[in-house]
């Protein structure tokens, strides 16, 4: 198993050097978004509005963390099933999105688009959220607090372990 360290945001050049199955330790900013946040982003794009993120510079993490207990950096952090976000991701890729993290396979149309766009889909381990929380340096609400666990959170991570699944 090949292990590489990468700083976020990553560019197409760096993505080209990745191979499926590589373990990657990511450092930098992850923005969480799941079902409802994706729905909002798609609606905003349809209305021609500006998103709270710059897709090209964002690594989206399909994750709804558990609340941060007092005196802790964050709660439990882990991936949700990515394929629910496939439709919205097709649109975000058109707006420059290059990196996403989740769990499970993606639909064949999306796999093709990810490759055609020179983007990358990472998976990380489900159900090891106490362990993954140890790679989080800070966690704060980033946008849409009203969505609760489905809000966008900004996570600063150090050597966060993921695997290259589609490239």
């Amino acid at each position: 198993m090949n292990t590489v360290k990468l700083e976020l945001p990553i560019n197409k050049e760096q993505i080209r050097n990745l191979k499926v199955g590589d373990k990657v330790l990511l450092s930098g900013v992850l923005i969480t978004a799941r079902d409802q946040a994706h729905r909002r982003m798609v609606e905003m794009l349809e209305r021609g509005e500006e998103l709270p993120i710059v897709p090209r510079e964002t690594c989206i993490f399909y994750c709804g963390p558990s609340p941060t207990p007092p005196a802790k950096v964050c709660g439990a952090i882990g991936p949700t099933t990515s394929s629910r976000m496939d439709g919205a991701t097709l649109i975000l890729l058109e707006h420059g999105l290059l990196a996403m993290i989740g769990k499970g396979e993606r639909g064949s149309e999306l796999v093709e688009r990810i490759r055609a766009k020179g983007a990358v889909y990472f998976t990380c381990l489900g159900g090891v959220a106490a362990l993954l929380s140890k790679y989080v340096v800070s966690c704060e609400t980033y946008a849409w607090e009203d969505l609760g666990a489905e809000a966008m959170y900004k996570l600063v991570v150090k050597d966060f372990p993921v695997y290259v699944s589609i490239v």
């Binding site: 207990p69 439990a76 769990k103 499970g104 959220a129 929380s133 666990a149």
Partner: protein, 283 residues
């Protein structure tokens, strides 16, 4: 029979306590299965993942952080003796209150939305819980509690098979369910299988099967062998931990069977991810 009176607040305290245990502590038998699987895994990546699962369990217990961020739907199976009288409050109300309180106390993720279609706003306290009540003989009160994550639940399936379907068709449908779920259900899995009964009861059997002791086997030899065969055939499929390849895809298979209509053969497969959070308390 003289009624046995149990105080509602006492039950609530016991439920909250149990949810605290469920949220942070892994079942020791689950960890044993995981260690055994780690020994027999030949794939490097699978061993890496099983190590991560074991490390995760230790961190969750030591630091009181949930082992998975999806702290699930709170599911209750309550067997209440017919001579039990609960004093102070109704049983379902107690359960909902306990869930709301435990969610705050243990910083559980709030994962329940108000309405499936019209209003998917979060209820903010993980209520309503899912509650199945059964009236049984005697003066016992047994409460089984699970935190059931969405990923594995979404990939669970019900098949209304033809009675002429044989053992092989049952096995192949279970294998298909696990294969299609892949990494989405977070393997290694525990399978709850309900065979027989009817459209709504087969899934209940499958879910109840998940509350069994991890080492339990079906008391009927034929079904115990079926459990074994399903387990070994899935494990030779190569899906592996988190779907990344390996020979540990399923840790345990529990099947419960029941009588059914002569025209029916229902088969329900409830997938349980490796974040296995099931506990029974006797009050």
């Amino acid at each position: 029979m003289t009624p046995r009176v149990i105080n509602a607040e006492y039950i609530k305290t016991k439920i909250i306590e149990a949810i605290g245990v469920l949220s942070f502590r892994s079942d020791p038998k689950l960890l044993n299965c995981m260690r055994a699987a780690r020994q027999s895994e030949t794939s490097e990546i699978a061993r890496d993942i099983l190590d991560a699962i074991l490390d995760n369990a230790a961190i969750a217990a030591n630091e009181q952080i949930p082992g998975c961020q999806d702290t699930g739907t709170l599911v209750f199976f309550v067997d209440i003796g017919s001579s039990v009288l609960i004093e102070g409050h109704g049983l379902t109300a107690i359960i909902h209150e306990a869930v709301a309180e435990a969610s705050r106390k243990f910083y559980l993720r709030r994962s329940i939305v108000r309405d499936p279609l019209l209003d998917r706003t979060n209820t903010g306290d993980n209520t309503p819980a899912v509650i199945h009540l059964s009236l049984v003989d005697g003066d016992g009160l047994v409460i089984h509690i699970a935190q059931k994550g969405g990923g594995a639940e979404n990939m669970s399936r019900l098949f209304m098979l033809n009675p002429s379907s044989g053992r092989e068709e049952i096995i192949s449908n279970v294998i298909r369910t696990v294969t299609e779920a892949g990494a989405k259900a977070c393997p290694p899995l525990i399978l709850g299988i309900g065979l027989g009964a009817n459209f709504e009861t087969a899934p209940l059997l499958a879910k109840r099967a998940l509350f069994q002791d991890l080492e339990a086997r079906n008391p009927v030899a034929y079904y115990a062998e079926l459990e074994d065969e399903i387990k070994s055939r899935i494990n030779s499929s190569g899906i592996g931990p988190m779907g990344m390849g390996g020979n540990c895809t399923v840790l345990a298979v529990h099947l419960l069977q029941a009588a059914c209509h002569m025209a029916s053969l229902p088969l329900a497969v409830n997938l349980q991810c490796h974040a296995f959070r099931h506990l029974g308390i006797r009050i």
